[in-house]
Amino acid sequence: MTHPDDHTEPPSEFALEVRALESLLVEKGVIDPAALDELIDAYEHRVGPRNGAHLVARAWTDPAFADALLDDATAAAASVGIGGLQGEHLVAVANTPEVHNLVVCTLCSCYPWPVLGLPPAWYKSAPYRARAVADPRSVLAAFGTHLADDVEVQVWDSTSEIRYLVTPMRPAGTDGWSTGELETLVTRNSMIGVEPARSPQAAA
C-alpha cells in the first residue's frame, strides 16, 4: 500500500501520530531518540543488499566459500563480518540451470536483514505474499523473469526465524571478473529470487 508522503505540508495524520507517540515515550523515559537515529542510520547506510552481493560474488569466485555458504550461511557470513538482527539463522539456497528459488513470508514480512537490508514495499505487499506460494511463475513474470518449463521452482516461506538468501547463477561473460566487479551484478531482487543476476551487457 502507498502512503501520502509526510514531507508535504500540512503533515499527514500518520506523521502527527508518530511524532506524538515518540514524544510521549521520550517523556516517559523509555525511548532515547539517539537510539532511533542509530537504528535508522544502520539500515539506511550500513546494512543492505551490498552485504548479500558480497557473499554471492565471493561464492562465485571461491568454490570453498560457495560450499561453506550452502553448508552454514550464518557461519560463512560471519566469517566475513556479516550478520546480526533478523539474520541469526541464515540459509542460502542456490539457483542452478535446473532449480530456481524464490523467497517469501506469507504471514508478515520476514526477510534476511543483515544481507539484504529492509524489505521493499512489494515484498511486504499482500499480492506478492499471496501469489508467491501458489503461482510463483506468474510472480516471476511480473518481474520480467521467464523460466524454461523444465526448471523446477522452489518457494521458501519464511514462517520461522530461519532467513533465506538466494544465490543467483553467475552470468555468462564474466570470466576473469574480480569479486568487486561481480558484486555490481548481484541485485537485491536476484537474491530474493524474482530476477536473475544482471548480465554484463545490462550492467554496461
Binding site: 502507498t2 525511548i31 511463475r137
Partner: protein, 221 residues
C-alpha cells in the same frame, strides 16, 4: 489466528507492483521513526517479537486492509504499549505523560550504543532441546488442523496437507507460546509440499518449503 495476515494462496488482493531496487529504504521519515520505535520499544523486554507480530494481526480485518504497512506497525506498537502498561490509554489520548514509566522499564531504555550492538549481533532463537526430535528427514508428515485465536505460524494453506520433512533445524523458540511470554523451544523442521497437494491439480509443478514446529505436525498414516 487465521486472520487476514495469513494470505498465502488468497486471490483478489490486487496487482503486484515491482520496483527498480533504487527506491529509498523508508517511504517517509515517519515510517523510519515507526520502524525504530518498534525495535527500541521491543528492547524494553516487555514483550517478544512473536507478541509484536500477534499484536499487528489482532488489529482487525478492516484495519489489516485499510492501513499501510508502517501504519499497522504503529497501531500494533500502540496496542502493546497500552496492554503492557508502559503507557496508559489516558496518556495516549492526551499525548502527555502522567509520570515516568516504572524504574525497571526506564532502566532498559535502549541507548544508541546498545542499538548498534543489537543490529550487529541480533538474538538467536535456537534453544537446548529437552527431548529428541520426533521426525526425521525423508519422513511424510501432515500438518494438523490448527484453529487457534492465538499466535501461530502454522500457515492456513498447509494445514491438513501432507508434506515431506527435508531438514531438522534444531530446537527453536515456539511462537505460539513465545507470544504469551513463555520462551520455550520446540523442534523445527523444513517441510516440503508439492504445489498440487496445496492448490490442486491445475497448479504448476513447484515445491513450497514451510518451516513448521513439531506441535504443528503429525505422522502421515
Amino acid at each position: 489466528m487465521n486472520g487476514l495476515h495469513d494470505v498465502g494462496g488468497m486471490h483478489g488482493l490486487g496487482r503486484l507492483v515491482p520496483d527498480t531496487g533504487d527506491e529509498a529504504v523508508f517511504g517517509s521519515r515517519s515510517q523510519a521513526r515507526v520502524f525504530a520505535l518498534t525495535i527500541a520499544a521491543g528492547a524494553l523486554g516487555r514483550w517478544s517479537l512473536d507478541a509484536s507480530r500477534h499484536a499487528r494481526e489482532r488489529l482487525g480485518a478492516v484495519d489489516q486492509l485499510r492501513l499501510g504497512y508502517f501504519e499497522r506497525w504503529l497501531a500494533g506498537l500502540t496496542l502493546q504499549l497500552r496492554e503492557s502498561g508502559v503507557v496508559t490509554a489516558d496518556e495516549l489520548a492526551s499525548g502527555n505523560a502522567d509520570g515516568p514509566a516504572p524504574e525497571e522499564v526506564v532502566a532498559r531504555r535502549l541507548t544508541a550504543e546498545r542499538a548498534g550492538r543489537a543490529v550487529e549481533r541480533g538474538r538467536r532463537s535456537d534453544l537446548e532441546a529437552a527431548s529428541a526430535p520426533r521426525f526425521t528427514p525423508g519422513q511424510r508428515v501432515r500438518v494438523r488442523p490448527h484453529a487457534t485465536p492465538g499466535q501461530t505460524r502454522a500457515v492456513r494453506y498447509a494445514q491438513g496437507r501432507f508434506g515431506e520433512v527435508r531438514v531438522h533445524h534444531g530446537c527453536h523458540v515456539f511462537p505460539d507460546r513465545n507470544a504469551r511470554g513463555e520462551r520455550v523451544g520446540e523442534h523445527l523442521y523444513g517441510v516440503a509440499f508439492d504445489a498440487r497437494e496445496l492448490w490442486g491439480g491445475s497448479a504448476t509443478g513447484h515445491t513450497v518449503h514451510v518451516d513448521l514446529w513439531e506441535p504443528y505436525l503429525e505422522e502421515a498414516p
